[in-house]
């Protein structure tokens, strides 16, 4: 089985009467030669590591070694617990968990790249929010990771998933698109609906540049992860409401690729443009790297 496009993916799902996650699992068995139980337990291990990153990040108010991030997850959790959040429980919990993971990443803590470390907050954010709010069992979240990886697999092979190669659209964009499709599948949507949500989410982030202050995966990366979770929920909601993407997902991915190729080097993780070269961005860089050398 070789799946190279979202179109092929939907066809295979419909023919085999299986979910996107189940197809990924079948493909992995076929390719790796490992048995189903081994593969599932490897994925479980990743979910557990994600949970540990959330659990440690959510109560850690310390700042990262750079001094430019940290402590925001704790603030967000307090605010949500006071019942003040405007976005509702699903989104605001996802925001808290996403902050926790991404702050942990900035501290050089252990995280799971989904698909990258810079975008590691989005999937755990939405998955553990689903678990908290409607009791989606961990077993289903593991299957959700197979859904996410199938969607990411197609994106990665048709385009790119790193900020250095294609800008933030490739990184937070891909992770958000994967998360949107995963929410849809976990909520019982069809493969076509999941792929629609993937397209809708990715369209919303096309053109986003990778401009990390001082080259650190902190500003604006951490907050972009947080916002990614709310885009994922919006895209999933639209798709579950029956709204389709006017541009097919494969074409959206292709557009992402072309935009990334057109993006100047200064806006692809070199810290030579965008927010990185604002007055404050430059000051941060100077402060950090003069101190070191």
């Amino acid at each position: 089985m070789k799946i190279q496009s979202m179109k092929e993916l939907i066809e295979v799902c419909e023919r085999e009467q299986k979910t996107i996650g189940e197809i990924m699992l079948m493909m992995e068995i076929e390719k790796s030669g490992r048995d189903k139980e081994t593969i599932i337990s490897m994925m479980e291990e990743r979910l557990i590591k994600m949970k540990e990153a959330v659990d440690s990040g959510i109560k850690d108010a310390s700042t990262a070694p750079s001094g430019i991030s940290g402590g925001d997850a704790v603030k967000m959790v307090d605010y949500v617990q006071q019942g003040k959040s405007l976005s509702g429980n699903y989104v605001s919990n996802a925001m808290s968990f996403s902050l926790a993971t991404s702050e942990n990443n900035a501290r050089m803590g252990v995280i799971v790249a989904t698909p990258t470390a810079g975008a590691a907050g989005i999937l755990p954010g939405v998955l553990f929010s689903l678990h908290k709010n409607d009791g989606t069992p961990y077993k289903n979240l593991v299957m959700g990771l197979f859904t996410a990886s199938m969607l990411g697999f197609v994106i990665a092979n048709r385009s790119f998933i790193s900020g250095a190669a294609g800008g933030c659209q490739a990184e937070v964009g891909s992770a958000t698109a994967m998360a949107a499709g995963t929410i849809v599948e976990l909520k019982g949507g069809t493969p076509q609906q999941a792929v629609n949500a993937t397209a809708i989410a990715m369209k919303s982030l096309l053109g986003l540049v990778c401009d990390p202050v001082a080259g650190l995966v902190e500003v604006p990366c951490i907050k972009r992860n947080v916002i990614g979770t709310s885009i994922a929920f919006s895209a999933a909601d639209m798709s579950l409401a029956g709204i389709e993407s006017r541009i097919p997902c494969d074409e959206v991915i292709e557009a992402m690729y072309r935009i990334g190729k057109d993006m100047p080097r200064t806006l692809r993780e070199t810290a030579l443009g965008g927010l990185a070269t604002t007055e404050t961005g430059k000051q941060v860089k100077e402060r950090l790297f003069c101190k070191k050398s």
């Binding site: 990924m24 790249a113 810079g118 790193s162 995966v217 810290a271």
Partner: protein
């Protein structure tokens, strides 16, 4: 089709902050560690393009040295690998250049290591998401795919068919 497995997308389990600038680079270092069969005594590292611009923020230097010292991507000692290198007496030097003449990718490094009386020069690129590639060993172009978190022992050995034959003696 560079990405072949669900674990290329969900994973690796790693210390932050970057899968391409940290985890993928640990793998390149770890491959060289396995190739040499020990941590090298002297290392010269050239970082190109995005690596050269952002290595400090991403701990790319710590990641590469961590790998060269035999650490895995989720080893929390990576944070302190510069100190570890000093501790074991590994001498290292970093250089920076805009683009690599051997391979066209923003996340590229050329690593020349010395161990006993042997030298080996390895080119590696980190493709994103923890996936990386060794594209050159000495002057020979190769295509070795490294998935962060995998064990490279056997893989590295197959590129070192008769002990240290692969490595050129210093002239």
């Amino acid at each position: 089709m560079e990405f072949q497995s669900c674990f290329d997308i969900i994973g690796p389990i790693m210390v932050g902050p970057s899968s391409s600038h940290t985890a993928g680079v640990v793998s390149i270092g770890k491959f060289i560690y396995e190739l040499v069969g020990d941590y090298p005594q002297e290392v010269n590292i050239v970082f190109y393009d995005s690596f050269a611009e952002t290595y400090q923020g991403h701990g790319t230097d710590k990641a590469l040295l961590g790998g060269l010292l035999g650490m895995d991507t989720d080893d929390t000692r990576i944070k302190h690998s510069l100190e570890w290198a000093k501790e074991v007496g590994m001498e290292y030097k970093f250089e920076f250049a805009e683009s690599c003449e051997y391979y066209d990718h923003p996340n590229t490094t050329m690593v020349t290591v010395k161990h006993d009386d042997r030298l080996v020069k390895v080119g590696g690129a980190s493709l994103g998401g923890g996936l990386s590639k060794i594209f050159m060993i000495n002057e020979k172009m190769v295509d070795i795919r490294l998935n962060a978190g995998d064990d490279f022992t056997v893989l590295a050995r197959s590129y070192q068919p008769r002990g240290k034959v692969l490595m050129e003696a210093i002239g």
